[in-house]
Amino acid sequence: MKLSNHQVEVGVFVVLLGIMTLAGFAAARWRRPAGSIHNLEEWGVGGRAFGNWVTWFLLGGSMYSAYTFVAVPAYTYGIGAVGFFAIPFAIICAPIAYLFSCRIWSVSHARGYVTNAEFARDRYGSRTLGLFVALTGIVATVPYISVQLVSLQALFKTLGVQGDWPLLVALGLMSITTFRSGLRAPALLSIAKDVLLVWVVLSAVLVVAMSGGWGAAFDLSAARFKLTPSPADGLILGADGQLGYLTLIIGSALSIFAYPHALTAILAAKDRATIKRNTAALPIYALALALMAMLGFFAISEGVVPLGSNFAKGVTGDLNTITPELFHALFPAWSAGIAYAAIAVAALIPAAVMAISAANLFTRSIYREYIRPNASPREEANVSRWTSLLVKFGAAALLLLINPGFSTELQLLAGALVVQIIPAVFIGLISPWFHRWALIVGMLAGLGASLYMLYNTPQLSATGKVVVAHFGGSNWPLSKFGLDTHSTVYAGLLALVLNFAIVIVLTMVLRLFSLGVGADRTHPDDYYADADDPLLERLDDLLDGLPRQPHGAHERHEEPVAPHGYR
């Protein structure tokens, strides 16, 4: 009985996903700390049991998602050089993370924070600020989860599986493993994902080499871009597109430091040296991403078309299917199945980590602050688990009920929104000078400005016709300020500039009159705390998954005395 190509693909895909689901369940026992504890830190931040390699996989896994591997080739396929922005953005994230991640790690471990909203609250002495940071973080993370699921949906469409049920099944399996194992499940699966991804990238490079090399791919792409009516696409940026590219890089890099899930991955590291080593190695992922982006050009040269496209009628089709279609066309069936499994896991892992971090934001900054201040750690962990589930399925509902095209625009909006917490969360790591009220006003102004600008950005077709009237793009033309140029600037960055301006001016005024300056609850030494500090909060004090051992009086206490003596 000879299986058709399609059946082999689906078969390999299902088998691999099944294996990884089982691994996700087993993750509960993995690197288990001695003694099972029921609080938020253990479940929500897998604890300092994560050393070098695991942290790298988890960081890479949560920052380089399926959206990255599917959307970036789709962009380069569709518009060429502008789509490559993800690579320089990823590259500059690494040195910035090298400089600042250690500080947030140290202060979070010294004070027991699992979210950046808590840090903002304590740094500036304002619960309201913490609330706004948390709300912005949650609102921005949900669409980001949706776009991971968009990539997953595109994958299922290419596989020819009809209906929405495969998406819900995959999401459900991932949710159960995370529910059970907390952050350990995505961490373990990140390793599996990276193994698969290495395979995929190597195979792709081999295929390109065997097909005549990159030169042919780029030449054919250049020819195709010349034929399209839009002047903005092409192998390199147009003169007007350079500023937009630059601001897109800066704005996206800043947004990574605002999104809560990157922090969740960082906090799970063992010590400061682990973070430094890992951020130093992060650009390797950028190289893999660069290869994937160039595959978009290869797809053009190979004549791969997106699903549902009909160029004769001018229908573009679903560009998100470019990557799966490329694998389908180029790889043997079994290898394509592996590639699909890699993408699927690359979608589910960041979705899980993002859901965990959004749930932590809710539990710590809303539930514990305002609803039940005396919640026990066990209750917190439970609330967080259920919220994470709600967030994941809420994101799925958002996707299924709203047009997929729109959900990608939602992510653009989310990025522009989340960047507004940068003054509080990122600059707060360096200095407590800003005033808490100024920060709140600035944040609200930045949020409003982003919403306004993105609402008024239509999506134009290549011929200039309006395709989508609102939320159609993320770049704001400078001509709207009366400047005589065609350049555009990333809207989120413009709003952030406004945000900073308001914060600085208001801070100066309010400090001049010493009005309501909040108190900094952190201490300068907190920012240098390392693993051997006996006063460090062990964020692995918290639950990951359901307890399998009795706790309380019957608990085994196998704590090592060195290096942490305080327990």
Binding site: Y98, D122, L237, A273, A290, A519, L535, E537, R567
Partner: protein, 135 residues
């Protein structure tokens, strides 16, 4: 920076494991029997002092073990300015927005940005090695 508000009582963070068991104490730390009731009544220094939080953040006892402040010097070493290179290189957009010279058929625009990734790895690894020796 000496902080005058450090003369406060040490309130150990309640640990979920130890239902009724006293927390492990370090020499010099307060035991629960000595834990004062109510909040310390010193006025909070609003400008840059530490305000008592009734929550879980552990307070520092007056005679805590000396922390290695050398690390503070590590993080401020001038060598970190090297990071300007990997941060700045991708931002010089007009400089690399060209097709020639090509490597292996890949236009300059693309391989330059990939080269930046390699430069970033090298610089950060160097920094890590150089600042590591102090510990």
């Amino acid at each position: 920076m000496a902080n005058p508000s450090y003369g406060r009582a040490f309130v150990p963070r309640p640990r979920p494991l130890e239902h009724g068991a006293p927390p492990t104490t370090r020499p010099g730390a307060y035991t629960p029997a000595q834990r004062p009731t109510g909040r310390p009544d010193a006025r909070p220094d609003r400008r840059h002092g530490i305000v008592e939080s009734p929550r879980r953040t552990p307070q520092r006892p007056p005679q805590r073990p000396a922390r290695r402040v050398r690390r503070r010097d590590d993080d401020r070493r001038a060598v970190h300015w090297l990071l300007i290179i990997p941060i700045g290189m991708p931002l010089l957009v007009p400089l690399y927005n060209r097709i020639d010279p090509k490597i292996a058929g890949i236009p300059f625009f693309y391989w330059y940005q990939m080269a930046t990734a390699l430069v970033a790895i090298v610089v950060m690894t160097f920094l890590y090695q150089v600042t590591k020796d102090r510990d």
